[in-house]
Symmetry: D2
Subunit: 430 residues, 4 copies
């Protein structure tokens, strides 16, 4: 038996054969074998509360019983696993549920484009659509925006570490300060001025693309006023408005779309992460019919429309979004999160809350401190991660379905971890 063999698993294989690009497993080294709801189980039987939720890809928790049943039934009945972009009953089922429960009630006439099943692919498609539809190339993106790391999307991503990974220049994107980024600077007004000015030096944009809450960028939440202003700037200058709702959508902010209560209707919306409901790879672009300009397969890819994901996605829509009760439940949980994070912030001088809805965190001032708190929490049975340009934000992205008692237990762990780390820091400083 190889020396790295643990409970039948050769864990040396990761070191030996997996690329150095692997990341989460570095801070969370357990070998996971099962998961249900908000609980992850490792190979040694230890359990962890999940405040990471696959970076918001598991908004309905792990292995939801209804989705699981539907998926097993589908597979057992030899339902298609892979159908290219052929018609299937499962795709029709998802589209119908999405139309009925999501689009129609929100007055959206958007069409659904299934892209390759990664958020980055949806973003690439959205950028291409905007460029093709407008005949322009420039896309305005924002400080701390994160949209993926393939070349087109990466141009829009602000993070310098990821940008550097390209090994070459990116093009086609102009960067502007996000809401609240720089004291006294209204990014929307500055953008409007530069675009209105014949010598502003910013080419007329195909689109303005933003997240309403910047998940990777540090849980920066734009105000409704800012988003409306941006929507106005886009309209005024003939640009499309793209809301990248990959992390903030699917209920994460308390409503299905993150922009619902802001009074704007984007021309294009990108979705991925939790859209399958079950954590399966699926991504899509919502696009107004007048901008649905791709010809057949003009943007193609083998895995467009993951049939298994359609099965679970339909269940997720029908189970959670057919009635208003889920939204009501989310509001309560958002209040709980705010209360407990306020307690956390109170422990750290200068710390403050960030984010919106169930996409919240605490900026503790340094990536070092945030990292230590998360590491200590992990030792105590809580999976939680940092966010922000300096990883200075302790980020809570729990499944939206997390029971209140589990939430409380997770926060108890988090606060204990924070207290222990702060005590140690205090002692070390004395």
């Amino acid at each position: 038996m190889p020396k790295d063999m643990t409970n039948g698993t050769d864990i040396g294989i990761f070191e030996r054969r997996e690329s150095a690009a692997r990341s989460y497993c570095r801070g969370i080294p357990a070998v996971f074998t099962a998961a249900r709801g908000s609980i992850l189980t490792a190979q040694d039987g230890s359990e962890y509360i999940d405040f990471l939720a696959g970076c918001s890809s598991l908004n309905y928790g792990h292995n939801d019983a209804d989705m699981k049943a539907a998926l097993v039934e589908h597979i057992t009945a030899d339902g298609l696993a892979h159908g290219l972009d052929l018609h299937t009953d499962t795709k029709a089922g998802f589209l119908s549920a999405f139309e009925r429960h999501i689009l129609v009630p929100r007055g959206m006439d958007h069409r659904v484009m299934f892209t390759g099943p990664t958020g980055a692919n949806a973003v690439e498609a959205a950028m291409k659509i905007a460029r093709k539809s407008t005949g322009r190339t420039n896309i305005v993106a924002f400080t701390n925006g994160f949209h993926g790391v393939t070349m087109g999307a990466l141009a829009a991503t602000g993070n310098g570490y990821h940008r550097g990974g390209a090994g070459m220049d990116k093009q086609g994107v102009t960067r502007m300060p996000y809401d609240g980024y720089a004291d006294g600077v209204d990014g929307a007004a500055l953008l409007d001025q530069m675009l209105s000015d014949a010598s502003g030096g910013i080419d007329a944009p195909a689109a303005i693309m933003l997240e309403t809450v910047q998940g990777e960028g540090g849980l920066n939440a734009a105000s409704g006023g800012f988003v409306r202003k941006i929507a106005g700037v886009a309209r005024k200058h003939g640009a499309l408005l793209i809301i990248d709702d990959i992390q903030a959508g699917c209920g994460r902010t308390g409503t299905f779309f993150s922009f619902e209560e802001m009074g704007v209707t984007p021309d294009i919306v990108t979705m991925a992460k939790s859209i399958s409901g079950f954590g399966l790879p699926l991504a899509l672009v919502l696009v107004r019919p007048e901008h649905d300009v791709f010809g057949p397969a003009e943007h193609n890819g083998t895995f467009r429309g993951n049939t298994h994901a359609f099965v679970t996605a339909r269940v997720a829509i029908e189970k959670f979004w057919a009635a208003k009760s889920f939204e009501t439940e989310l509001a309560g949980k958002a209040a709980l999160i705010e209360k407990r994070l306020t307690e956390l912030a109170a422990l750290v001088p200068g710390a403050f809350l960030k984010g919106r809805g169930l996409m919240r965190g605490v900026d503790v001032g340094s990536g070092d401190l945030a990292g230590k708190i998360c590491a200590r929490a992990y030792e105590k049975g809580l999976v939680i991660e940092t966010s922000g340009s300096e990883d200075q934000v302790v980020k809570v992205l729990a499944p939206l379905t997390t029971p209140v008692e589990t939430f409380e237990k997770g926060f108890d762990i988090l606060l204990d971890a924070a207290r222990e780390i702060l005590d140690m820091t205090r002692i070390a400083a004395e």
Copy 2:
């Protein structure tokens, strides 16, 4: 009941809500509900032999019994559906099987990087790795090459229709003629001369990237001599050799990798399509340790490493590649395909065979004729598609596991369809 309701499925939903970018469903309009092995079943109960195999994503057929069982067991036991890039027993299981049955026997010390689960994402990662590792930006790609449609990959894709979809210029790629592309032009020698010449005007490349058989480009098969020459040119000029084995890999040419018998070991190999075995989204990059240069999450993405796909991928490797018997079986089927396609080619003046192994087709001289033959075959119960810059190639990409009798039946349909179309054409011309 809505007027488009068929057997409980609202098929008007596709027209109403799915993006115009959908494609395969246009020529193959059936609504599919189940599939097993090489047979697809539509909602109305009709069956189709599958000579498309999810564009080579279903090399082991639909719903292979062993993979299916393993997957259902995994789901039933609350195995993870989504694990970011955390350690899981399923990932370890796949990596161990891949190491033992694929890498070690072929003397490859490559590391495995799980990228976002699309082929394009693997290609983007490969291009970024080459650029980061060499500090150069130029990548040489070839006429008729197809590598995906996200901005980085699209620069390397030759197809003008897809290139146009970007709505902007692509950068970082130099195009060269592929093996046999232009009479009397040795693309490898020309590339070598231009790179050797201080005024050749081609910047020193980070990589040379090619498919050994161009699947989308018309089933053009490069000779071993050409691939070896290209490998030599890469080595001579300090460039990495990237083999894009997304379509041609996983046994499609008769061996696991398409380049196995050519005497070259690429620095980087991209894989997707059939790597999960079951048609589930999964993509990976094999990279030599010395070029495994990404830092943690430098190339990231939520769906890197699809846990369900790891389950089926492990079974696929163990079931088909642990012994030599599958390769032997493939050789027999390749001969069968060649025999039957030779019959097809004999029907059309000037037609000729293309491709290699089980990735074969017949160039019938025009996209119109090829399209008509495939459409007629579909009416008769065979799903088959065209390929090539003018869609002039009738392409056979059946599951590798297709039983001989099913193969024969499929070819019978194809030949009948061809005869009927040719007869009609002849009559129309008279």
Copy 3:
């Protein structure tokens, strides 16, 4: 005699054979035959006071007697007209005078690179030097900046009309708001924040490039404080500071360099326009020795170092810059210009002065009004042009050597023209 023949000149030739790209001659259609000091003479004998000065290329007026004599002597003696970048006594003469009277007194150890004799070529060289020296590609430029229209320089130019002329995307430049551009926005502070932030989304710059007074952009004058802050941001982030002094240099702001009294020493300075003294094509780049990184001819061109221009440039330096008296004289004239433009501004509600030194103008609020005033002034014998993103600034760029009485006469014409236009506008409105 062709119908367009006037005084022996076939003026129809311009319409017939000169490209539609010609511009100044559209608003100033006279055919000029001679010029001396600040007076232009047309073919029909009419004279014009020159408040345009070749867009600041004739800071010492037309046909300065001393330069003229030296140039005629040089030509008569078969001095070289073209010497590539060979050593000539004339080049040595210019360099020695420039070293003694310009560089040494200002404590500048910069080297002189003669580029192709256009300002744009100097800017292209400066950008290339910064990129080669730092190994970075991004260059920060500003709203309303104008740096030329060749592809590298055009990326830095803000004007949308000129940018559009490229017919393709520009790359390698990030745009920031200039001093005073947007209310409440400190462009230097915003730039610093975005560069300091790991997710600011602006790649580390090779250089920050600016004009201290934006000549084409509307005579926007940066404060010394802003320029010093920018210099600090450049230093902090490892970027070179490039001052484009093509229009504002050679005494235009009252000192030889426009930045002399600001307490900064740029790493690179671009010069053209008046550097030859006589209006002959000459351009150069001043670069600190540690950034003089081009190898021999790495940036080349046939007309680098115009020998005739060296002759006049040497005389210009020795005649005007060997002593302080010229600067004193300029201060007086700057005061005169300010006084008279204040009178002009008083005529137009909301009008205000712009610029600095002898590079001044009045923003009259609309391009239409500014254009009419200049057109009327031309009819009355004054050549004067507009500037700014909407051409809304009446711009005075007279030869620095313009006698006081000529200045007054020119301003009398300008004010009369303004009054006439305003009267007409008033009457039309009633």
Copy 4:
């Protein structure tokens, strides 16, 4: 007196203050003070025969008596030195002469655009025109092409040393093999095939740009057949044909334009170098009226239309091109050059002649040998330079007006120099 003072000239100034980018003066270190016809005079009184002619900028020799007289008269009469793009009698004079003696006799309806006075600026304008006129961005250029070093033009230049000077990627150009570049490769046919093929991977070009003889690239002369084929490919694919005649034009190949006897009429022609006749900076673009698409000043620049250069350019056109006698004289000199270079080639095993007309050279097989021969020739009183990607070609670019006896004397020196170097090499080898 500083130690570097020589005959009143401080030659240390070059080392001290001129940029390291200076080049010709490194191999030809004399300080030149005067020049007439084909003779250069250095400060110490020594004379040199000029076989470099300002890289073809002095086709009519130094200080031609008629041009000189006209220029001195112009200056003495206070003719304009700088006139922006205003109408002047001198510009009219040049345009009229150019129309009468050059354009009309050759049936060319082209318009003349005066760009910034560098060849690179003319190339940048030409590329922008093609892009704006066609709405496409790609421009096809060739191996060993040299078109200048500003960013737009540099993308088209093949030389890697110059390309590297940019410090960043170039874009918008596709490289193809020039006539005779690679054995068995017909660059025109390959280009046609790749453009005709929907998956050829070369975007539809705005223009194909080439020199008929590649001056910097090693005196590679395209055949008329190749140029006609390229013209046909351009026409077939909707691209403009740009002939860069900057070095090969103005009589250098024996006719005014280098393409005159090839049966093609380019859509755009770039000219610079000898167009002023006197070595003064001047550049222009000839463009067919239907492609004269720039708006006023859309491509601008201060020194467009050098007035002094117009004076001499008019004289040059009238003196040399009004009658056929000059062309006849050139044919004789071309024969002389060929004869003497054949003698040179006979001295070096494997050497062979290159070029066409009076733009000839000998490829001696190595840059080292060519450099030594030129250096020895310089010591003996002949200024001559190398060319080619490895500087392996001894290049003769004498003034076209060089008297036969001076030609013979120059060649005598060159052959003596070659013999001496070859003897030394032989002795060293023994």
